[in-house]
Each structure stands twice: as C-alpha cells, then as structure tokens.
C-alpha cells in the first residue's frame, strides 16, 4: 500500500492524524481554513498558520469505485470505494479517503453499494491514516 509522501506543508496533518486528531491548516491571522496545506494564506497573504482541530464529522461529497488494472495491493481489494468527504463545519474542506466498516478495516470492507452522496460519516484513525465510517 502507498503511504503519504509528505512535504513540509502537509507533514503536520499526518503527525496529528497519527495522534488520532483530524486537524486542518488555518490562517493564524484571518482564520480561514485551507486545504491542501500551503505556505501562505490566499485570502490575506499571511504566512502564519495554525492547525484547527475538527470534530471529524462530514458528508460524502462524491465517490468512485475503482476496478483493475490497479497497483497490486489495491487490485487485491478491488472493487473498493474512494470517497471525498466534505467537513460539516467547513463544507469547502474536502478530504479523500475510504469508507470502511471499522477503523483499520480493508478498503473493501464496506459494500460499495452502501455508499451514497450526502451520507453522514465520521473520521476514524488507523496506522496514521484517516478513514471514514458511516454515522
């Protein structure tokens, strides 16, 4: 399985995820949330950032169900869902992930037919990655 190849802007996200927290980069001056992380606030051009703790609740914005050909570790689990989740408290912050039956479960642990746009979901954590479960 591929692990996140992080950069200086993204690394804090993964450090917090490893601690079981879903935090999103925010401007320390104007407070705007932004994702993906980047060096400078596109609203006020401030370089001061903080990491806003979210409650991990969201809704499925869209999803795909990949089938082979895929990289071998992914082909072995296909078909599986990949969801884009919109955070309830910040609808323009969207995170790509997988809807699973429980934390740490395989990508194909939930029947793809149970995935719906608009479904309420919440974040769970496993091996430093954020996963999602139906709420």
């Amino acid at each position: 399985m591929l692990t996140p190849v992080t950069d200086p802007d993204g690394a804090p996200f993964w450090q917090y995820a490893a601690q079981g927290e879903l935090r999103v980069q925010a401007c320390a001056d104007c407070g705007e949330l932004r994702f993906p992380p980047r060096p400078c606030c596109p609203h006020c051009r401030s370089f001061d950032t903080e990491w806003h703790l979210t409650d991990g609740r969201g809704r499925v914005w869209s999803y795909a169900v990949p089938h082979p050909p895929l990289l071998p570790d992914y082909a072995a689990q296909a078909p599986y869902n990949v969801v884009v989740v919109e955070l309830e408290e910040a609808p323009r912050i969207r995170l790509v992930g997988n809807l699973v039956s429980e934390a740490g479960a395989a990508l194909n642990s939930l029947d793809p037919h149970r995935v719906r746009i608009g479904a309420r979901v919440h974040a769970v954590f496993s091996d430093g990655l954020v996963q999602w479960m139906l709420s």
Partner: protein, 385 residues
Amino acid sequence: MTGVGGLKDATAIVGIGQTPFAKHLPEDERTLACKAVLAALDDAGIAPGEVDALASYTMEETDEVELAKAVGFGDLTFFSKVGYGGGGSCATVAHLAAAIATGQATVGVAWRSRKRGSGPRPWTNTAVQLPTPAQWTRPFGLLRPADEIAVLARRYMYEYGATRDHLFNVALACRNRANQNPAAIMYDRPLTREMYMTSRWISEPLCLFDNCLETDGALACVVVSRERARDCRHTPAYLHSAAQGLPAQHHGMVNYWNDDPLTGPAWTAARHLWKHADFTPQDVDVAQIYDAFTPLVPLSLEGYGFCGRGEGGAFTEQGALEIGGRLPLNTGGGGLSEAYVHGFNLINEGVKQLRGTSTAQVPGAATCLVTAGEGVPTSALLLRS
C-alpha cells in the same frame, strides 16, 4: 484593440503531419517525432532549414536539441514547452503564434510523440510525485486519472441528472467518426449501446468506453505568419483566437478543494478565447474537444459556452455531436477512438476540417474550436479558414 488584438488571424497552421497510430509501433519516440515533423513540413512545402521556433509539452521526451540535429533545423530563436500533460496541446500552437506575431521567429513547429500504447502507464510509477497532490489521494487508492475524473463525474451526474447514456453519446460520436477514418485505431470496430452498457468498469461510474485509447504515435504542425501562409501548399487554417486557462484556486485533476469544483479550466480559457474572437459559440461549425474521458466533453460544452451550466449532458442528446447535429464532435475519432496522443490529433483534425479534407467532413466548415485537456490547466484555439 491594438496589442491584445495582435494575435487575431496573424498566423496560420499551414502543415500537418502524423505517423501511423497503433497499440505498438516498432520505432522509438525520437524516430516517430522526426517522422511526424518532417511530414508536417513536407505538407507545408517548407524546408527543415527554415524552422526557427519549436513548441511542445513538458512531458515530451524528445528534446529540441535531439529533434533539431536529427532533422536539420536552422538556428532556433524560440523554443517553449507547456506543462500539465494534455492541457498543453493547444498552447504549443499558441506559443508559436505569439512568437511569430511578435517577430521572435518565422517558422514554428509544434509536435508530440508518445509511446503510451506500448510504454508504461504513468500512474504505475510509485517512485515519483505525480503532478497532483499525491499525498492526499494516492494512499486511498485514487491512483489513476480515470479515478480522479470518476469522482468529479459522479458529482456532476448527481448535481445535474446527467446519465451514462449521455456519456455513451460522446463515446458513440467519436467511434462513429473513427469508423470513417482509416487512420483511426478503431476504424473497423463499431460501438453499440449494448457493448457500452455491458462493458467492464474501470472506475465507477466510468466504464471501459469512457476512457481514451492507449496509443503509440506522433503528430506535428507548422505555424507561419498569415503573409507567408498564402504561399504554402494548402488552404491556411488561421489562428483566430487562442487562450490558456488556469483558474483561481484550481487543483488539477483532483479539483475537489474550491467553491465550485465542476467549473474547471475550460471556463477560464473560454472567457479569454471569446473575448478576442469575432464570432460566438453558435458560429462554430465543428469542434475537437479533448476527450481523455467522456465526462470532459459535457463539462467542456458548458465551459466553452455551447450550453448552460448543467446542460452538457442533455446537449449530447438527439445526435447533437454527430455529423449533421448541432455540433459535430471529434471528427477524426478523437482520443477515444482515433488515437490518444495528448490531444495533438485534435489540432490536426481541426486543420483538415478547414481544408475540407477530413474523412468525416462537415460541409463548408469555416470555423473550428480545438480544446486541450479539461480538468488540468488547459488551452484552446479557434481556427478559421
């Protein structure tokens, strides 16, 4: 408008060339590039020694030095490469036009050579950071361009009621044109609705026939000033308007992180394209719209102003994209059914339409829109005869 009007009809495409298209060609990419470029120059009636400008894609692996020394170009005074994969196709021609219109060069060649049919699929390379925010997507199995677009396609279908039949209409129009084009990979392979609806999934909601071909091949074209164009062998295809488009807060193929992810680079390019044009979308006789995936076509139909927001799916109904329809599409077969060479075949097909030599000729075609990849920083051309 002095200055900004300086590009309008100032240059023309006067030569086009291509190699055969196949799943596997024996020649390497460099050889294919040389053959396509020499074919385009021969078509124009211009000697290689007169070429002084080049433009291609950043993903092109035959560089200017290799090409120039192999085919015997003269001294080059302008060379440029455009990024973002298939989003750069039309911009190669636009950069040459700008160089020629401003006196930096006189004869420009744009080209693309690619062994995507027999070579590796870029997404299988796990050692490099692909030009997407890979850390946010690839660990979760969003691995391929088809997966990235499938997410946007699902949302588009959900918001606007577009259906798989609408996507089929796109695939069918391209296949029908390929069935008229002996150079097309799918020349002798008709497509039916049953084949489409029962084909295997690649990334739901996209099936096999929603995805472009994987092709070995190369193409090139030659750009000169409008004065020089009059002395060339064929009817010039004048470059009426050209634009690139990178919208504010755009994220490439994983454009999930802004206010309106379904408004892509096409909208940005289109605003500039039409601002500098003497005609409107209603005046376009034939369109060559980038079709790496079928959903890019309804999105582009909206972006370039052929219909309203959310109407791209419905636009494809009642044969609108076929010959005789409201907007004949991808008349050589496009990336879906002629060849996928990062959209360069769409440029050359646009020129054929304006010359009147397409294998699926739109009678009297005098204006053609050509677009580059939607869903990535893009570019577009308006050509006229």
